[in-house]
Subunit: 251 residues, 2 copies
DNA sequence: TTGTTGCTGACTTATATAAGACTCGATACG
DNA sequence: CGTATCGAGTCTTATATAAGTCAGCAACAA
C-alpha cells in the first residue's frame, strides 16, 4: 500500500510550494489534540511508531515534532515509559510561574487568604487585556499571600466568567490556581507575559502588608496564555520585596 | 579506513558505561572553540560535512549539536550560507539584555552619560558576586541612562580589572557594553541572572532622575555570565518605572 | 526473590531531496 | 566594446525517511 494513502497530512511533499514542513504539521495536530484534551494530563501519548503510522509520516519526523513540544514544556518524555502530557504540579508552578524567591534563592509556596471574590461586567481595560467582548462577565479574586507567615503579596486575579463558570462560588480556591484551571476546566496555562514596575503602597495595601504608607512595592502585571495562545487570566500582584526578590533569567 | 580511526571523540560507542552522547561531546568541542575564539564572531563555521569528517561522526550528529547551540543563541544558521558565531548586535542586545520597554511595548536604545569610573580593590561582596580572589582589582563605572531624553536609569557596572585591562581608561565607553566586551576583549556574554526589587530613591538618585526623594525605583541586580559560565559583570540598575516597565516572559 | 522478555524512548548513521545563496560564464543589447 | 541579465553549477542548510543499536522500565515467569 502506498504511504501517501495512509497519510493524514496533506504535505504535497516538497514538490509544491506548500512550504509547511511535515514536522510542523505533525506538531500542529498534536497541539490541537492537547487543546481538545484528546489525552488527559499525565496520560501517555501513543508511541512514536504508532503516531508515525497513524499520521503517515516517519518516526523521525514525529520525534522532531515531539522534541519541539518537549522544549516548549508541553510534553514530558520518560525513557522506557512514554511521552506524557505535562501536568501543572506544585513544583512546576513554583519554578515556572512563581518568581519571588528568598535572599538565598529558596522558593516557598505562598499561603493565600481570599479577601474578596466578585463577579461583574468587565471594564474596558479588562476587556482589552483578556480579549473579551464588551459587556462580558468577569470574576475577580483578591488575595493576600504570605511567605513564611509574613503577608507579602496583594493579588488581584481576573478571569472571564464564561471560561470559568462557578469559579469561587461553592468550591474553595486552592493555592495553585493553574492546576485548578487545568483539572476543573481543562484549560492549561503554558505561557505568561509579565510587566514589572515599582510603585508606592496605597494606605490599604500598607496596612495589609504591615508597611508604612507609600513604601515601595513591586507590581507584577501578568497576562497568562492558554495552550491555544489566548489570554485567560489577568493578575496584578503587589509585593513587598524587603525579604524576597523577583528573579529572571536572560539569554 | 575505519571510521573509528579518524574519530577525535573517544565515544567508546554506547557499549561501555560512558553514557555521554556523541552529540554532547561534539557540542562541548565546539563550545570550547568558541571560548577560545577559534572562530571570530560573525565568521562562518566549517560546513556540517567538514565538521563531521574532522570529528569522525556523522553529519546528522553534528547537526543535532549545532541545533542545540542555535537554541542557546550561541550560533546562527543561514540557509545556503552557513552556520555563524553569534554577534552582539544592537538589536540582539536590546531584545535579550535590555528589558525596559515603553508602555506600548516599544524598545529604545538608551543614551548614557558616565558620571564616574574608578578602579580599586574589590569589596568582599564584589569578590563573592564575581567569583574573584580576595584583594582582586575591579573597575566600577557609574552611568545615568536616558530614554527619549529623560534620565531614567542610574547604573553601576562592576568588572574585574584583570579580565578587562584599561577599560574606561583611554577609550570612550560605547553604549552597548556587551558588544564592546566581545570585540575588544574576546569575552562573550551569553546569559544573565537578574534579581529585581522595589526600593526608595536616595536623595542623590532622586536628583539625578528628577524625582522626589523616596520615590519608588525598580532595582535590577544582574550578574552576567560569559560563554564558559563564569560571572563576568555585576550590574545594578535603579530605574524610574513611571514611563517604562520591565518585561519578562514565563513558560 | 530474581531473571527474562518486550515495550518504550535515546542515540547514531546513512541516504535522498528541496531550497537558499553565491560564482561565473554565455549571451543579448546598448 | 562595455554592460547587464540570465542560467547552470555548486556550495550551503533544511527536511524527510529508514534502519539499526542501546538503555530504562515494567510485567511476568520461574
Amino acid at each position: 500500500m502506498a504511504k501517501a494513502a495512509n497519510r493524514k497530512i496533506t504535505a504535497g511533499k516538497r514538490a509544491s510550494g506548500a512550504a509547511i514542513p511535515l514536522y510542523a504539521q505533525v506538531e500542529e495536530i498534536i497541539r490541537q489534540r492537547l487543546i481538545d484534551n484528546y489525552w488527559n494530563p499525565g496520560e501517555a501519548l501513543p508511541s512514536e511508531m504508532q503516531l508515525a503510522a497513524e499520521l503517515g509520516v516517519s518516526q523521525g519526523t514525529v520525534r522532531k515534532a515531539l522534541n519541539d513540544m518537549v522544549a516548549e514544556n508541553l510534553l514530558v518524555r520518560r525513557q522506557g515509559r512514554g511521552t506524557f502530557v505535562s501536568e501543572h504540579t506544585e513544583r512546576r508552578a513554583l519554578f515556572l510561574f512563581f518568581n519571588l524567591v528568598g535572599e538565598d534563592g529558596s522558593r516557598t509556596m505562598p499561603v493565600s487568604e481570599v479577601s474578596s471574590c466578585a463577579h461583574r461586567k468587565a471594564t474596558p481595560e479588562e476587556c482589552e487585556r483578556l480579549d473579551l467582548a464588551v459587556g462580558a462577565e468577569i470574576i475577580t479574586v483578591q488575595r493576600v499571600r504570605s511567605l513564611h507567615g509574613e503577608p507579602t503579596i496583594v493579588d488581584r486575579v481576573t478571569v472571564s466568567r464564561s471560561l470559568f463558570p462557578n469559579l469561587g462560588g461553592d468550591v474553595k480556591l486552592p493555592e495553585n490556581l493553574y492546576r485548578f484551571y487545568q483539572g476543573e476546566y481543562g484549560i492549561t496555562i503554558t505561557k505568561a507575559q509579565e510587566s514589572v514596575r515599582a510603585v508606592s503602597a496605597t494606605p490599604e495595601e500598607a496596612e495589609m502588608l504591615s508597611l508604612a504608607p507609600g513604601a515601595p512595592l513591586l507590581e507584577i502585571d501578568r497576562i497568562s496564555l492558554s495552550l491555544d495562545g489566548r489570554p485567560v487570566e489577568w493578575r496584578v500582584s503587589r509585593c513587598n520585596t524587603n525579604q524576597h526578590t523577583y528573579v529572571a533569567e536572560r539569554g
